[in-house]
């Protein structure tokens, strides 16, 4: 199915500065998704860099590549579970990741393509695997990631009701 840019924004609760999926290329709910994240040196993570920098300092933070990949899995999870309306008063959380390997650094100007498969669907918990590529080269592989939708009232009773599937209600 096709996900437009406005639809993508409604499928993820994340917002600036931690909204790390730019576009959905292809998705089949219950099966797989391909997304794009474009890296630029204008992102806040580079705000404190000085004039003289090393390649290492310009490399995109590995943990944020995982976050971007996991958010893409979140889009697949959201569509598989039936959208924000079906996840009323739930919050999307990353439960765990394992077997994540970083093969090559990613730099500003790179366009990262995340590819994710849904391996197990247990309703409010889903397990994914996949990889990330830049220009056809694999930069990250993920053996397993567990995503969970948890009741908002269990996390923060005083804030319950402001969120639905992670989307502000």
């Amino acid at each position: 199915m096709n996900v437009t840019l406005p639809q993508l924004r409604r499928l993820l609760p994340h917002r600036y500065p931690i909204l790390l999926v730019d576009r959905v290329l292809d998705v089949v709910p219950g099966e797989h998704i391909a997304t794009v994240k474009a890296v630029t040196c204008n992102e806040p993570w580079y705000a404190d860099l000085g004039d003289e920098v090393t390649d290492e300092e310009l490399a995109y933070p590995s943990t944020l590549l995982v976050e971007s990949w996991a958010q893409s899995a979140g889009v697949l999870a959201m569509l598989t579970a039936g959208g924000p309306e079906a996840l009323r008063d739930k919050v999307m959380l990353l439960g765990s990741v394992s077997g994540v390997d970083f093969h090559e650094p990613v730099y500003p100007g790179d366009v990262v393509e995340h590819r994710i498969g849904l391996r197990r669907d247990m309703g409010e918990t889903m397990i994914f695997d996949g990889e990330s590529l830049v220009a056809g080269r694999t930069v990250v592989t993920v053996t397993s990631a567990v995503m969970a939708f948890r009741p908002a009232e269990q996390l923060r009773p005083e804030k319950a009701g402001v969120i639905s599937g992670g989307i502000p209600a």
Binding site: A70, S96, V100, P168
Partner: protein, 123 residues
């Protein structure tokens, strides 16, 4: 980028292992809370992971590059105002290093992480 990670106890030998402690104060003005999530601030699991990698890099027995996350479990939510404590344990493996970390807020365990660091030239 995020929270100031400080070394609380520098690297100390413990048999074949090396141990260290770090901590980070997660204040309400962390920029990430604006977007995770609006009106419902929760410190993202990968930001906890980022604090662990910073703590690891500040205490590494020798310079290395993060090759992989062998596992990272996010066991409890971290909220504005929490201080996270990171217990690090380094062991050698085939010339490289494995860093195991336990993450807690007060008496509450919030994460458990195992990282692989490579030493020397990286492809």
């Amino acid at each position: 980028m995020i929270a100031d990670v400080r070394v609380r106890a520098g690297l100390a030998a413990d048999g074949a292992k090396w141990r260290a402690e770090a901590s980070a104060q997660i204040t309400g003005d962390e920029p990430v809370f604006a977007g995770h999530y609006p009106g419902f601030p929760i410190f993202p699991g990968v930001c906890v992971l980022e604090c662990v990698t910073r703590g690891a890099e500040l205490t590494a027995p020798e310079p290395g590059v993060l090759r992989g996350i062998e596992s990272a479990r996010f066991l409890g939510a971290v909220f504005p105002g929490d201080e996270i404590d990171i217990d690090l344990e380094w062991t050698r493996r085939d010339g490289d290093w494995v860093c195991k970390a336990g993450v807690s807020v007060g008496s509450r365990t919030v994460g458990s992480v195992r990282l692989g660091y490579g030493v020397g030239v990286v492809a």
